[in-house]
Point group: D2
Amino acid sequence: MPAFNPVALIGRQNGAKSTELVDLLGQFLTARGCEVMVEQSTAEAHGIDRFAGVNYEGIAARAKLAVVLGGDGSMLSAARHLAPHQVPLVGVNQGRLGFMTDIAQEHMLDAMGELLEGRYSIEERTMLQAGVLRDGQTLFSTNALNDVVVSKGTVGRLIEFLVHIDGEFVYDLRSDGLIVSTPTGSTAYSLSSNGPILHPSLTGLVLVPICPHTLSNRPISVSDSCRIVLTLRHGDDAQLHFDGQPHFELREGDRVSVHRADNTIRFVHPPGYSYFAMLRQKLHWSGMY
Amino acid sequence: MPAFNPVALIGRQNGAKSTELVDLLGQFLTARGCEVMVEQSTAEAHGIDRFAGVNYEGIAARAKLAVVLGGDGSMLSAARHLAPHQVPLVGVNQGRLGFMTDIAQEHMLDAMGELLEGRYSIEERTMLQAGVLRDGQTLFSTNALNDVVVSKGTVGRLIEFLVHIDGEFVYDLRSDGLIVSTPTGSTAYSLSSNGPILHPSLTGLVLVPICPHTLSNRPISVSDSCRIVLTLRHGDDAQLHFDGQPHFELREGDRVSVHRADNTIRFVHPPGYSYFAMLRQKLHWSGMY
Amino acid sequence: MPAFNPVALIGRQNGAKSTELVDLLGQFLTARGCEVMVEQSTAEAHGIDRFAGVNYEGIAARAKLAVVLGGDGSMLSAARHLAPHQVPLVGVNQGRLGFMTDIAQEHMLDAMGELLEGRYSIEERTMLQAGVLRDGQTLFSTNALNDVVVSKGTVGRLIEFLVHIDGEFVYDLRSDGLIVSTPTGSTAYSLSSNGPILHPSLTGLVLVPICPHTLSNRPISVSDSCRIVLTLRHGDDAQLHFDGQPHFELREGDRVSVHRADNTIRFVHPPGYSYFAMLRQKLHWSGMY
Amino acid sequence: MPAFNPVALIGRQNGAKSTELVDLLGQFLTARGCEVMVEQSTAEAHGIDRFAGVNYEGIAARAKLAVVLGGDGSMLSAARHLAPHQVPLVGVNQGRLGFMTDIAQEHMLDAMGELLEGRYSIEERTMLQAGVLRDGQTLFSTNALNDVVVSKGTVGRLIEFLVHIDGEFVYDLRSDGLIVSTPTGSTAYSLSSNGPILHPSLTGLVLVPICPHTLSNRPISVSDSCRIVLTLRHGDDAQLHFDGQPHFELREGDRVSVHRADNTIRFVHPPGYSYFAMLRQKLHWSGMY
């Protein structure tokens, strides 16, 4: 009996090779006794009808594992959909390895075989919940696996906002923006903005200013039980981003509230997975520079 | 006979104290035998009619010195207007000292007295000339004292462009943007983005990537005789900024050409001016952190 | 009845004003019904005989609070002595405020009055335990409040060592050294070496490479339950430092083991203390740059 | 007639393959009509007697080109010996490419063939001259191609010194040290310490503080016509290094004077050489991170 059943497959909308890959993996799983679901828009994009096309709700309701065939961006999207429903994820990379899609395409079947036979480890990743308050009303709220980012828009002038953590005033930041990042996000945009790497097991978040006016405004890491509030003082065209994808235009006075989401997302890794081995490869630590 | 005559006064549009200050300085200069011109929009904003209101063209044609009463932003604006006409500038700061407006308001009359009696030093500052080429046509060209910046817009995704220096391919940069800065600009936005400080006497420019995807994309300083070309590959809403002020939306394929402007701008300093003393004060080098 | 009794006073060996200050505080405490002990070397250095001179063992055995009159260095030293014995510390700064000595001299008596009347908060600070293993033998072990640092010596060439965390290989680091820092140490040497600020409530440590050869060797923050092992591969004159004070010469093959100490040190703060207010002041966040 | 004649070969003292390589290149050059000299200690280390063993003086007196077979360290050493005598250098790397040894071993003969037939470019690299003044006496002076570094020694506490440029006071620096780097050195130690890359054609130097206490003590680039003086205030075991090799122990009050050397060193490059192509390869700019 396979360790995970049913299994959902989530691919990219585009990419010629995706069709084949979904097909190959679907047949492999079926042969091992798994019920296979293909995420609906993936199925439609690739004209896959051999397996049931199921939307995210359906996957959330029944799948015991979701295999993401794509890059880190695909993982982010799947995580935001599935985190509230506790469906664990595993990532197969179609190009070069990602920080999250750590199974190479050529090892896909071997790795999936291991997982189905119960040889795997589970890693929990913290997610963020963020909302915008305007005039005492919550405009909306969403979750993010990597980061919540406030940044300047097209006008190109620095923006200014107040930062509070658990109600305590931190500073009045003048910068191009601020990244609130999870450990997972610490190897993404945050890293480009001079943020530290946070190991996924650290129960912390990091606030990373983007091009701060004051040179001593360094990244600050805090416990992930903190509640962070950003209040926009100046910057009419300031933007709010979640995992680099959706965006929302802020107004002066808006308050962005960020805290750890109730749910985590779980990543499934085949035997031999090492977080640091992945970092060594992605960041060229093995070689010079 | 005053060392500079006529003298133009350029103030801020807003600021209650500007009226008084322009008035005070105008009378001081008149008493020393100087003809005084007040920049037209300054004169209008403050209802000044005691002195001739003259537009930038008039100032460019006749003034031997322009006194800027404001902050570094006012100096940047005046420099862009007056550089082609060789009118030297001196900056009086109304708030805290600026990197360029190095005369404190309370020392204004003393300092101006020194200048009129011929005790001063002249410092030449390099400016940039930048233009955009689209489909073989130069869309426009302008100059900048601090920097020319290409940056992402509201979508918030990194942009990608090719950088060539004197026709030699440098790299394919994926980042939030790139700053091409003069020595003058090296203490402005460039510094926030991890750029080095370039002494004004260095005949160099610096290319500073903003949040580069590749961590080893460090600032590169090149001779100011170089011609730098940035070719946008990806990033539909990429923006082009000059001295942080005007902006222009780039399209994929656009080429931004940046090189040293033919004209420099000259700053006039009273006796005792020290570039490093200014840095020590502005960057809190005297104290801890 | 005073909230803390007896109270130990720990001063600097040098500093003319220390004598007066110890005397003043001692009398204040006596008047409030406290038994006062003066740390022996402090008493001897300043010729204080009005209060009992007691060595660190005596303080550890009986004092309910230790007041450190000095700078952050004095706090580090007192913390290393007293942490195993659970004596809480409070710091009074004789010069400018420190990151840990957050009570200004002129507010000393008011603040102490508050503490004795039971108005205070307690903050626990994580400490490190570090030891050196050579040829299977533990050469010695000690604790540190700020950091454990491996660094190159006088020869000036980079050193090379392997880093393992909880038995997992992290990387082969070629650099001037590596800092393993607590949250408390994150605002000390680590900050100068481009490390992030860790809030004291974060249950984490940070590994900060010093001038790493590979530019992507960025600071890494891990849970403070991790066991970190550094194995020296190259660098005959590599040095080991604890809180920047004592040092020990490492040999190739030596293993430095670092983990969270069993004991924490507790800091006592008067009402109104704010960690971020302290950072704002120390790091000039209020002003420009 | 070969474009360079005689040609000196300079190898490493160790390395099994060096003997073969020197031999191979020597025969190639002889066949093209070149007189071949082998640097004496190289000849002795490898037991080479087919070609004349000549010391650096002899090479300086007669060679028209020196081929360095080794890494960047070998180039630095050869440059310090030969710069005063105007012998140009070309570097063949035995392992992975260096910043200066830009000819791969497998392309050695092709590249040398091009050079001998007159197809090459010449690049001049600025060198530094540095001396130590103690009690009004110059203790010694030497030159460096990469950098002059003042750094703390084994005690591990920060050192403090005054920096003057052309007699103007810059700052009182408290740090682990300071690097004064040429453009050539800007991709060496300076880069690890957060310094910018300076293109070799920039007539500038850069001062890069090592772990500065004050976070706004950023790298400063100045004209290479400047005279830089560092005066040690505190730090008994401060060390002075040239190109990372020799070292000298400084005393409080010592003044280290650094300026551009009278002579440059010339690098010879085969056709197709590109400085930026070399950077892209060395710094992994082509790929991610």
